[in-house]
Symmetry: D2
Subunit: 366 residues, 4 copies
């Protein structure tokens, strides 16, 4: 239960960027996380948040945040020492050094950056899928000689939308053998300024640098197991899961759509009806724990033949769920479907926040 | 050689619609086809073309066509009797009866409508792929007791973009066993008014009614063989080819993109380099015959990692070729790639016109 | 005060259309209006709302509404007799007869349709501007021999965005002499299916049928006075106000933007600073009355040089305010600015609802 | 007559940028200008054009240009010395120094950059409007002690679309007193990467930095006269012309639309019919001279109520004309209309090329 939790101060790194703005939007009304410190580049440090931020959300900057003074992204900058959690929306080109500096200063970091996702002692955690990987942080602390500090990352936005239905299917029907996925990704996935309008208006760009590799190996880590002593990962090694991803960019603002075909290890494969039922029935630990950002439904199953659609469905459950539709037989593999994730919420900031809530609930944050 | 061909009068059915407009645009500068008769609904009949047509192309109505008087779509309406070819851009709801009426009147009909594509005595002909199916029309005439009249259809726009590279691969490497394809289709594929802007701006619609089935069975007919006596089809029956298609609509004006994975019957499969070379080397009969609308290259192979793109590549070779890019290994099947077809040209009117040119060249049009 | 109001049952005509859907979205959480009857075409009548409605909003159909049975748009159809207010989102081609039939049956109708806007005994009411026109309904009742029934319309969506700042300026600085306005209107203003995507992707359509005339005369009625005995209107007749409107359609989903230049009767004209202050200070009767749908601010004045923008600012105050920005001197007239209204909320359903709330508050609804 | 002109070698500065790409596209098929030298930043110098250029046009790089080696933008870099004309598509941040260096080296520079547009000895020349300003270059040479070198600029893209119809109206009806214009400008006007897709998808940005000022003063210079001895300009000083411009960005790829109202000095003003006739009849000196890039019609007058539209009309006459439509009375000023210019062709590279052709024809290029 979260009702009676006492306030936990939080810091935000990369607070002026697009992911940072989402953190602020989410956290400004959070029941117990309280925005206490904002970090950005030295160019912005010392200035009022509203003064230096090109706010790109269709809401206004929360009033108290607007007046906060930005700090440099250093653990000893005013405010961070008091934070129970630090959220990182930093770009990968600076996240590497800053995040480990904060961890070394015994701070707990939940990061949206890609830098440490492959690190065998860092959980790559999708809150609707693998909170049971969290104990790896104890091994992380032990190896690094830390008492309180650790680092947890969330997954790439397109991986997140994929692994939730895959996890639901593996839970119900056992291991999946192969996955073929083609994504249609929103422009917001590239940040700001990100995709030039000349590249995407009236167009599709059938390539997103590094994205296909991320989907392929992140999925294996997330759906894999941790070693019995929580000292690291088994990368879905117990099954011969193979993933083939093609990623494309389309003129959509928010919401990554994916066309997915899967083949199960078990034969015969489950029927379309069984698959639908499993998706409908899927409940995840974030829901059981009752953390504040958990969606009422982790997966929304659509029956209309032309859903999910990013513009109409990305806001369901405040962007914290995954939509699945068009579940049908695949003539080549077993089952195919369309899935949709709000890439700027569950695919980014919402995952970090929910991961931190789970850590609070499980006693990993003092 | 076409240089010295004498003029052949042609009629256009459905001349005021979007496909009809493309026929007019293409034929108004054709070296030997000469627009002679325009057919449309009885509501438009008797009026000047420019008066009743909501012209939707970024060109102007050719001057002489603007002044032509529209006829009803009846074989005995003025003008059609003199036509060596009649092109049909009719909607499927009226194409069924009108096209057979024209054929029964001993007219040669090349149709873009879907009505007779499954008919075992009607060639479903993609000009860059299967002109060798044309002899089936002799069987068609024989069965129907016709001397000159017959009917040939071209394929669905998204099928067309897919079968050209598949044909090139089968030519080089033997039969393909399975194909998994996800399309990202342009709005112009739905005609006018077609897709509501409220449905597609900032959105993806992951469903196009009937389209997936069309891709699946049309491909089998086009890549299949005709019986030794040309009396019908073998639907790719000599191999266990299986196709799984997912079709989506994206906010692109013209140009259907597809993400394709294929598995060959032969093992080991050809390498990425071999596949690229086969695509580069592919030459089709339309090119060998030298018909006027044949593209200089049937397949344009792109090496840039982010191509083909619909806005930048749909105009290559006047929209009469297929672009292929991102050829790479598929971890699940053998090879994957992106292909692109201009759905309103090679995917529609250009195919009909090139099919008719091939028929002229092969002596099927008197 | 509205806190203790008792429930008022309401009906919605044209409930399955796009304006009807907005009425349902707004009213399903209303503090005292309670959706009681849904009217649509005879084709839909007798069926469940969720069964026949192509819901086009990025929310889900409210659960209790989903199960309601649709009625024909007849005053004696079940449910309407008990309604204190009937909201009409009907298309103008049917609104004419249906709305007067409901009024004749002693029902109070608040309509978004254009049919009776010019009627001299029907208030054309923008809730943030002219609630003082409401007494004209007493004259309407008297002329028609009605005791309870009357009809009130709201304005065209683009007019609504314009008259709010004009009213604020006239309130502060006296009559305006001339207005030159060019609008950039969203596609949702045309309903569904409305604008074809082929007409508007990568395009501007510089014409919206009848829209310019509506802006020109509606503004004169709304900013005009009612006669001293409330028996009709003076169409801004006390000043020589002249309006020149050019209306265009742009590829924006929701939110009409306008570029406006005005000239005051008084000379010298107010300064840019005075105009900004007047816009900031503007308070309307809907706010004073404290009706539930009144925005906290009627006009949001933007200081950033590139605001307001439809995508970022249309949601301010739940779409119930008008945004104004770029206030500066006009070298030709006196002052120019950009304004923005959410055409589907304040420009449509929200205005009808707020008008009805004002009528409740002023005792015009029993 | 241009048929027998002998080849003139030309250089292109800023050859890898978006304007430079347009220069290459236009000049690669020019009857007598022959691309001889390509200049770009020192980062690109020494490399093959195709190797370093992110080509953004829907055509392919002309084959011989693809293989050319890029030079630094220095007059003594190989190739420039032999050029009869140097076209500049440089960004304004570097154009200032480079262009005067080329002029100082006795080269003739036609520039699309804004740096020297206000210079009183540099013609600001729209080829369809004021080729009679060209003699000012003799004064420029005399002041700077040059024999062959001089500099001519063309106008801002949105100014260009406006001044052509204004010039036609002034030619027919005498001076214009006031102009009120609101533009809806394409994203390509901002170059590449230019406008972020996050800023413009489903949006309007009602501000383009510096653009309104450019329209206001450039128009006065272009429509003004040169002094009798061609030593400088009279900035439309003979009439009290006042312009008020509001500029907005819309999600259109190419083609700037403008909503324009004008008031004439003369009273009564010409009628709508007279204005239409004057626009239809307008012929410019570029046409009389018969230069290769001159459009068959300088102004295309549209009678359809919903034209011109950027997507459908920007390609008319290869983008070298201005489209005008919706000519009607303005209740506030005299006449209003919609105009459209292809900002990347007549609004940019085509103007520079046509200006140079005029200079050739008039004997200003040896």
């Amino acid at each position: 239960m979260t009702a009676s939790r006492k306030e936990i101060k939080v810091g935000i790194l990369g607070a002026t960027g697009t992911v940072g703005q989402r953190f602020i939007e989410l956290l400004s009304t959070h029941p117990y996380f309280k925005i206490h410190a904002l970090g950005a580049s030295s160019r912005s440090a010392g200035k009022r948040y509203a003064e230096v931020t090109k706010w790109k959300l269709a809401t206004t900057i929360p009033k108290d945040v607007a007046e906060m003074v930005i700090q440099e992204c250093k653990p000893d900058a005013p405010g961070f020492a008091e934070c129970g959690v630090v959220f990182s929306g930093l770009d990968h080109d600076v996240a590497g050094e800053i995040e480990v500096a904060f961890r070394a200063a015994e701070l707990v970091v939940f990061s949206n950056a890609k830098n440490y996702r492959r690190d065998p002692i860092v959980p790559l955690m999708v809150p609707l899928v693998n909170p049971h990987h969290l104990p790896v942080v104890r091994h992380q602390q032990s190896l690094l000689g830390l008492k309180k500090g650790y680092l947890v990352t969330n997954a790439n936005c397109s991986t997140t939308g994929l692994v939730v239905p895959l996890a639901a299917l593996e839970k119900a029907f056992g291991p999946i053998k192969t996955v073929l996925v083609t994504t249609l990704q929103a422009i917001s996935g590239a940040g700001y300024p990100g995709v030039s309008s000349l590249d995407i208006l009236d167009n599709v760009v059938p390539h997103i640098g590094g994205e296909e590799e991320k989907i392929e190996w992140e999925t294996a880590k997330i759906l894999g197991d941790v070693l019995p002593d929580s000292t690291g990962y088994e990368y879905h090694a117990h099954t011969p899961m193979t993933i083939s991803a093609t990623t494309t960019r389309v003129p959509v603002i928010d919401g990554h759509t994916a066309s997915v075909s899967v083949q199960f290890v078990r034969s015969p494969a489950p029927s379309v009806e069984q698959v639908k039922q499993a998706l409908r029935d899927f409940t995840c630990e974030a829901q059981t724990l009752g953390v504040p950002s958990a969606p009422a439904q982790a997966i929304v199953l659509h029956e209309a033949p032309d859903r999910p659609q990013p513009r109409l469905d990305r806001d369901l459950h405040n962007g914290a769920c995954v939509s699945v539709g068009r579940v049908r037989e695949c003539p080549v593999l077993d089952i195919k479907f369309i899935c949709l994730v709000d890439n700027v919420r569950l695919g980014a900031a919402t995952s970090s926040v929910m991961n931190a809530e789970i850590a609070v609930e499980k006693g990993y944050i003092a």
